[in-house]
């Protein structure tokens, strides 16, 4: 449903179907029948947000509780935003058409730092006061979770509650507490103090930060009985964790327009740049039967004819071939195709290829991440060049002619030789194509090398490292570009300034809240989109606020500095991260979790890959 007054502006914007709701499987309840209304907000466009699996899971789960009505809300694209402001229409949720200000909870999922401006802008458009301290009643509680909640500090002033870790359990506990507090007539503060006692809940208002003269953190002090460490929540029994049997099926095309089944959480690899790989430990798999049943039901209930088996590294599923075989029992007949995103170079075998062959032959993407073996060892991306070339040969012989390779520039210990290695590796893949006897005849090969500048992220072994400045990023991109000698390689690279600004917020602290507030006042939005992003405006803003962005990006931290996110515990010990960082300097690798336990600390959760071997021995 959309508010009546929206009708006349819908024909003045692109793809109005994004703003109407009314999709199949959308949950409509009567607001008189529920105690608690939750607006699940995705701080990006409908097409992006509707593709997000986390939202689908939590939307279904909230709505499975009779007293909660969870609705969806997305950032309106700039044409719609302009019309809404012009006609005085507040941002509304898609199911009821009610403005955000009418909701008990307004929840944001934080997937990337550059969406923070959209978080604030959506609150502004929805008529919700921006600062937590300006929302005094027990309503409009703004909560946030997701990957970027790992460093909540740059937006700590705006959010009442952060959920740390996986949301399925903790969200509902907080909802239940809210319901109770409201029944007892308690204040927002009383509710927040109680909520802070729930494991996995971070209430920023209950913590104070003291700074040293150089701007680093001196102390981070909990008040009002809040815990000094926030431990992440984690679902250990994946087979019995909530998973929706149906998705809201969008009427307009979205980015990932297909059914999705999550086959496991976490990643065994431990690549040292990868935040997801450390935050989501330990690896926990769903059983073949559970995945099979979930895929079947999803296809039946949504009508999608494509299922994506998603995870951080799908070929690492311990029984990937038996799983595909099982799925093929019905997918062939029902004309459903399977796709495996996030395939590792060493995971793409003939066996897997033959079972996902029904998928459109668009292109294959692999991520060697670095150009030389030395640097790949330093970042613990345990992929060898001969493995990559062998895999490419398999693909070429199977008829593929497009290969995409992902790399990063600016990794710790990197030299120009490593950068040239990117071009050399691309060339080696091109040469492999012409050596393949069964390659597609009469067609050339196209190897796309994409290089993204590296941003050190919290909770990785590189969290202390310096990030490249804008000029250095550009210089490195040119080093790679000039080393490429063939037209068969397309070189793509990411905008340097965007990366730099993202880096500021990735490892920022509470001092950045004032920058965010100003950014919102000045109308910043969609900074993840080149349509809207302006580096000049950001740099001006930092100067205006007296913030030196280099403090957060190009500064190398010492191992004993108090980091803004140190109070959060994702299960991996800081000492382990440090030892991994030191190993990177020596270009020494660490075996993956299945080969050998390296004692990161995640075994304390008592399950998953950490105990796989023991289970097998019994």
């Amino acid at each position: 449903m959309y508010p009546k007054e929206v009708e006349k502006i819908l024909l003045k914007v692109q793809k109005p179907g994004k703003y109407t709701g009314g999709e199949l499987n959308a949950v409509i309840k009567d607001k008189k029948d529920v105690d608690l209304r939750f607006a699940f907000c995705f701080p990006d466009t409908y097409e992006v947000g509707m593709s997000h699996l986390g939202m689908k899971i939590l939307y279904s789960q909230f709505n499975s509780v009779p007293y909660i009505w969870c609705e969806r809300c997305f950032a309106p694209w700039i044409d719609m935003e302009e019309q809404m402001i012009k006609h005085n229409i507040p941002l509304y949720a898609l199911e009821s058409g009610d403005p955000l200000s009418e909701f008990d909870f307004i929840g944001f999922t934080l997937q990337y730092e550059l969406s923070y401006t959209n978080v604030l802008n959506m609150m502004k458009l929805g008529g919700v006061p921006l600062l937590s301290k300006d929302r005094n009643e027990l309503k409009n509680i703004v909560v946030a979770g997701g990957a970027c909640a790992s460093n909540p500090e740059p937006i700590a002033d705006f959010i009442d509650i952060f959920f740390i870790g996986e949301g399925e359990e903790v969200d509902l506990e907080v909802m239940e507490l809210f319901r109770e507090c409201r029944k007892n007539g308690e204040t927002k503060e009383e509710f927040l103090i109680k909520a802070a006692q729930i494991k996995g809940v971070y209430v920023p208002a209950l913590y104070e930060t003291e700074y040293n003269e150089d701007g680093t953190i001196k102390a981070f002090i909990p008040t009002k009985g809040a815990p000094d460490k926030i431990e992440k929540r984690v679902i250990m029994d994946m087979d019995n964790s909530f998973f929706p049997e149906s998705f809201v099926v969008p009427n307009v095309e979205i980015v990932h327009d297909r059914a999705v089944s999550e086959i496991f959480r976490g990643c065994i690899r431990g690549c040292r740049f990868c935040q997801a790989g450390f935050m989501n430990r330990p690896v926990r798999e769903k059983s073949i039967d559970t995945i099979n049943e979930q895929c079947y039901k999803l296809c039946k209930n949504t009508g999608y004819d494509e299922v994506s088996l998603t995870s951080l590294s799908s070929s690492d599923y311990s029984q990937i071939v038996p799983l595909l075989t099982k799925l093929n029992e019905w997918t062939d007949e029902e004309k459903v195709s399977l796709s495996l995103p996030s395939l590792r170079v060493d995971g793409f075998t003939d066996d897997i290829m033959s079972r996902i062959k029904t998928v459109r032959k668009s292109g294959l993407t692999f991520a060697p991440e670095a150009g030389t073996q030395r640097l790949r060892d330093a970042i613990n991306k345990n992929v060898r060049e001969d493995e990559l070339l062998e895999t490419c040969a398999t693909a070429f012989n199977g008829g593929w002619t497009n290969i995409k390779l992902y790399f990063m520039t600016g990794l710790p210990t990197e030299t120009d030789e490593d950068l040239e290695g990117i071009a050399n590796l691309g060339q080696a893949v091109v040469n492999t194509f012409y050596r393949c006897e069964n390659r597609a005849k009469g067609r050339g090969v196209n190897v796309t090398c994409s290089a993204s500048p590296f941003i050190p992220k919290p909770f990785t072994p590189f969290q202390w490292e310096a990030q490249d400045g804008i000029e250095e990023i550009k210089r490195k991109q040119m080093v790679v570009k000039s080393a490429i000698k063939t037209k068969k390689i397309t070189f793509n690279y990411h905008d340097a300034a965007t990366t730099y600004i993202e880096g500021v917020f990735a490892r920022g602290d509470r001092k950045l809240c004032k920058v965010m507030l100003k950014a919102c006042e000045k109308g910043f939005h969609f900074d993840g989109w080149s349509d809207c992003f302006s580096a000049e405006k950001w740099l001006e803003l930092f100067a205006e606020c007296g913030i030196d962005p280099d403090f957060y990006t190009t500064r190398k931290r010492s191992f004993d500095e108090i980091l803004p996110w140190d109070f959060i515990d994702y299960g991996v010990n800081k000492s382990f991260l440090k030892s991994e960082c030191l190993k990177a300097y020596e270009s020494t690798t660490t075996p993956n979790c299945r080969e050998k336990c390296s004692g990161c600390g995640a075994a304390k959760y008592g399950g998953g890959v950490c105990y796989e071997k023991c289970k097998n021995m019994v």
Binding site: L24, N251, V252, E253, D305
Partner: protein
């Protein structure tokens, strides 16, 4: 194999689905409803569906149709609506399925109604202005064509407009040439009206059905 025309209404939120997106919605629905439909036989088999006369974004459709091929010639067509509707969004309702009698190329006219309103003018004022517009012998509006923007004269079509008497808003009906050969978009008429008024007019358009050159309903 039997050529079947499935009839549906497009309304509510689904008015704002584009033709391309409607195509996707229908593909998913026929797939999920497991209708015995012929699939294409290329590299990516998909249900074969076509639309004799697509409906513009934002229009309500009272009698829209979609063509498919049924593999099972004896399939009971009266069950199609009940099979498909549970799998469709609220705004799209299938109300029947018939064996195709005419070819899409036979379509020659489409009948519309529309409700018009404005922020600045009352319904009565809009009516008066429209009547005056209908008297003009030339009325040019820019139309986007493949070879760029061209001015075309829509005065002859504006004269076809009938104003429905005794309504609160300005309500009109009009039957316009339609189909692959000569199609007149009703929105051009309203653009002409807006240009004439030099102010925004909001409109809600419903297409009531399509007809052949003898004005027999398309079957």
């Amino acid at each position: 194999m039997k050529n079947v025309r499935i009839w549906f209404k497009k309304d509510k939120e689904c008015r704002f689905i584009s033709h391309l997106d409607l195509n996707r919605v229908m593909l998913r629905t026929v797939y999920r409803a497991k209708l015995p439909i012929w699939y294409t036989e290329g590299f990516n088999p998909h249900p074969f569906i076509t639309f004799p006369l697509p409906l513009s974004l934002g229009f309500r459709g009272e009698a829209e149709c979609m063509d498919v091929r049924f593999l099972d010639e004896n399939f009971d067509l009266s069950t199609v609506a009940d099979i498909m509707n549970p799998f469709l969004p609220e705004g799209i309702r299938v109300y029947g399925a018939t064996e195709s009698k005419m070819k899409p190329g036979d379509i020659a006219f489409a009948k519309f109604s529309a409700r018009l309103y404005s922020d600045t003018l009352s319904a009565r004022e809009l009516k008066t202005e429209l009547c005056e517009l209908m008297l003009l012998d030339e009325c040019l509006v820019p139309k986007k064509t493949k070879s760029g923007i061209k001015d075309i004269d829509v005065s002859q079509y504006i004269k076809l407009i009938e104003i429905i008497p005794d309504t609160d808003d300005l309500e009109i009906t009009v039957t316009l040439p339609a189909g692959s050969a000569n199609n007149v978009n009703i929105q051009l008429l309203f653009t002409a009206f807006e240009n004439y008024l030099k102010s925004d007019v909001y409109y809600e358009i419903t297409r009531h059905g399509v007809f052949d050159k003898e004005m027999c309903p398309f079957e």
